[in-house]
Amino acid sequence: MSADTIKLRLAGVGKRFAVAGKPDAVAVDDFSLDIRQGEFLVVVGPSGCGKTTVLNVLAGLDTATAGTVTIDERPIAGPGPDRGVMFQDYALFPWQTVRGNVGFGLKYGPAGASLSTAARNERIAHTIDLVGLKGSEDKYPHQLSGGMRQRVALARLIANEPDVLLMDEPLAALDAQTRTILQDELLRVWGQDRPASERRTVVFITHAIDEAVFLADRIAVMTAHPGRLKTIVDNPLPRPRTDATRALPEFQALVQRIWSLIRDEAYRATVA
């Protein structure tokens, strides 16, 4: 597959919610965006701009009230294992251990259907190792810190090896150090060391602009009320990106540029 193949397409997507006794609330309006195969796309915007709605529509958890959404040119009709989701609240199963949570989709979903039990266990162990949870395999979610839970959620998403990874502020609850480490991990898992054709497609929501600049191939900037796509910023920073990347003047310049795009609205959203 060429790197320019369109993986996900949002065309004129709108989402309205009925509000009793009032005109419909518009969460997202006329949103059009093509996401390329193997691309790391980050969506930023002020709170309430409909970022999560866009992600849920891609996941098939929400249906758009206008426009079309497709994956590989087929319309998205509902959730499916080709699009893994990492939820804002992690959505871990409290009755499963770390191992059970990470292996949940492999065991009960189609993701592990073609694998032998040994291969499945091997992948689970490998993924747990990857996110740095080795030694905590038998713990339950309530025994873990917020950062560790987030790692479990990340490991569960990765273990299923979906074509598309949809991530809703996955690192928001972490302290700065853990966050930096997991950003590096995420890029490695996504495949920044591999040729573009072997990478998975990622749609990643954040409100942290430096995170967006560090991770993204392109950054979609949204505005609120109603949620619209304001602009798409190409990110020319070279890969693989490392700690050195964060120190580049270009990195800071890009952060500043995106901040200037959403600053007015972010202030308005905060003051209002």
């Binding site: 958890l61 893994g84 989701v85 939820f87 959505a91 409290p94 009755w95 979903g109 189609p110 309530h142």
Partner: protein, 272 residues
């Protein structure tokens, strides 16, 4: 554990305090028992039950195996009825809690029968099933069914939606989702239902055996309720009736403790 809340070095003092509290707590019951014994002895009625006679009766009834036999017989019926109720109520409750359509159709029926006490169904049970064990099991099953259904429905309906969404994005089939997400999420509430059902079933068996005893005229089907009926209607032994009452209460307490222990073992993730 509670020593941690007292000052260091005062463990002995805390122990003494606890001993004194226990003594104070026991003072009132002991005084009442003494009063009962004294007033009962003063009264001329030879049938007046007395604490001393009750203890003596209990010793004889346990020694000759009469009481343990009756309890085992009643327990067997409770267990059988309990299992029948669980096999019917838990799947039905899960279906009702998971699917609005099922609930809309079944709920009115359940709610119509729920207020009809098990004892009110007894005449039909005796006419159809006779005065033997099957009528007793049917009564227990009927009584235990309702608290189990109601609690299972509540548990299945309150599964966190984000967990169901997570399962959907991993491509789980509906039945697998019920088995691996709805059931474990509802398990604490089902456990509450099981405990209530066990208590209700035990209450129902005593009532049913009493009533069946009246119908069968002493030569009935056995069990603790039947035994109480014989002491009431034929030999008129009030002390023995009170022994049976105490036994019913103690067995119920024991059953609940066993069930709680088993449920805690079944749900290691909900441990403190």
């Amino acid at each position: 554990m509670s020593a941690a809340t007292t000052l260091p070095g005062s463990a002995q003092g805390a122990g003494a305090l606890r001993g004194r509290r226990a003594l104070l707590g026991a003072a009132l019951p002991v005084a009442l028992l003494l009063l009962w014994q004294v007033l009962g002895t003063l009264s001329a009625d030879p049938r007046m039950p007395l604490p001393s006679k009750i203890v003596a009766a209990a010793v004889t009834m346990i020694a000759d195996g009469e009481l343990p036999m009756a309890i085992v017989q009643s327990l067997g019926r409770v267990f059988a009825g309990f299992v029948v109720a669980a096999l019917l109520a838990i799947p039905l409750g899960l279906a009702m809690g998971y699917s609005r359509a099922v609930e809309r159709n079944v709920d009115p029926l359940v709610e119509t029968f729920r207020p009809i006490a098990a004892i009110a169904v007894l005449p039909l049970a005796i006419l159809w099933l006779g005065t033997g064990t099957s009528a007793a099991i049917a009564i227990v099953a009927y009584a235990a069914f309702f608290p189990l259904v109601v609690n299972t429905v509540a548990g299945a309906r309150n599964v966190p939606p984000t967990l169901l969404r997570a399962a959907a994005t991993m491509g789980l089939r509906k039945f697998t989702t019920v088995r691996t997400v709805v059931v474990p999420a509802a398990l604490p509430q089902i456990g509450v239902g099981l405990r209530i059902a066990m208590g209700v079933g035990w209450t129902a068996i005593v009532a049913a055996e009493l009533a069946v005893g009246a119908k069968a005229g002493g030569g009935g089907s056995g069990g603790i309720g039947q035994m109480m009926f014989v002491f009431y209607a034929y030999s008129i032994e009030l002390n023995r009736i009170i022994v049976c009452m105490l036994a019913v209460g103690l067995v119920a307490l024991l059953l609940d403790r066993i069930l709680r222990w088993a449920l805690a073992r079944l749900m290691p993730w909900s441990a403190r």
